[in-house]
Subunit: 242 residues, 2 copies
């Protein structure tokens, strides 16, 4: 499993992904699930991936190969004219990979992968997409300004309750780390370290990129603090009386 | 979907179940998922069910039919000598129902159902079991003194963090209602009203049985209070600094 979140705030976009992959509990490894394409001053695109690792790596390889040999390719992540076209490129690529892997017909269950794509291209607004294994995609709006992929359930309630578009970047990272902490505590297939990217709107450069290790002092403060804050919150409610 | 929890505390056993069944979002209904067998002064057994409604109703019908015509039946919920035998009876019955429904072999995916069974029979300790669609079962211990069936993920983190065997009954109901509130807010297929039973150890009678409607004042106090307590808890944590 995997847990990745992309979240839109007024100030920009924040992305966090875990790094654990597993093919059974006795076959775990660390792989980066966050990929970034930048042309400074013109565009930043961030891709988070969940699902079959062979599929997601093939998709990213194909996207990168296209980046490397532009004269032989018609579309690349650095050349697509819009975020919409970038989402379509990722969707077409994942469909192509799954079709090649399962030649008898697309088998999204076994080889499936989903993606969160966000970023900004000069002259346009920051945008955030969720791309399905079938290759189609949806865009985040004001009512639901975040997407989750992988193990989404444990970390969702706090996102729904505490998200606010006017949040600072610093509060947003706190919110995402609380959401990740709940997920990490409940599902062994989601694991540290985490990767974090903050993109501030209209800068066309990554504002902050950070790997958060298991012993990161801020992450430990959030993880321990959230446990005791939750218990205090629970204690503050009135007991049942029959 | 469904959400049911059975939880063991030092004082006894507490059970809560939702009542929503659905065969698609346009085909929802209210059915009780909590069944109770009592022989006052000698035994109390409570059964919570999740899964295919035809299967769970058939299981309860078979268990009740056996109760009604004991001279033709070898085992009944009111006659089994132990909770272990009661769990085995439920397990055998669900296997039998699934076998009859899917004659080509047991298809637990389509017709599956799982159960939480708890109670006490005179001379023995209160016990709590989780019964799988395959008919086998496990018993709650001191380390994991609760079982959930149905949509278990949203409501699990608070149970894990706040449970304490020394809790009063009144605190336990508060904990279970917080867990149900998180689940109700996140999964439309879990719905009000809720059914609640408290069994106090060594009484061999149901101490409290209550249906909690959507407009129940205590449930509303918990639901509203938990939202704001969570937000306060979140605000109390330090913001990230890059």
């Amino acid at each position: 499993m995997t847990y990745c979140v992309g979240l839109r705030i007024d100030r920009g976009l924040v992305f966090v992904s875990d790094t654990r992959t597993n093919a059974g509990v006795d076959d775990v490894a660390i792989f980066k699930k966050m990929h970034c394409w930048t042309r400074p001053g013109e565009r930043v695109l961030v891709l988070l991936s969940a699902g079959n690792l062979a599929t997601t790596q093939a998709v990213v390889s194909l996207l990168n190969e296209r980046t490397k040999a532009p004269e032989e390719r018609s579309a690349t992540m650095l050349e697509v004219p819009s975020l919409y076209q970038a989402a379509k490129l990722v969707g077409d690529t994942v469909k192509e990979v799954i079709r090649q892997t399962a030649p008898e017909g697309q088998n999204a269950d076994a080889f499936g992968a989903s993606f969160i794509l966000g970023g900004q291209i000069k002259g346009m607004e920051p945008r955030l997409f969720l791309i399905y294994p079938e290759g189609n995609f949806i865009e985040a709006g004001d009512d639901t300004p975040f997407f989750q992929i992988g193990e989404t359930k444990y970390g969702k309630p706090i996102l729904v309750r505490a998200h606010d578009a006017k949040m600072s970047f610093e509060e947003t990272v706190k919110l995402l780390l609380v959401s990740f902490d709940s997920t990490l505590k409940s599902n062994l297939s989601v694991g540290m370290p985490l990767d974090l990217i903050f993109y501030e709107r209209d800068t066309y450069a990554v504002s902050l990129e950070r790997r958060i290790e298991a012993d990161d002092p801020y992450f430990k403060a959030i993880s321990d603090g959230w446990s005791s804050a939750l218990k205090d919150a629970f204690r503050s409610l009135p007991d049942f009386s029959a």
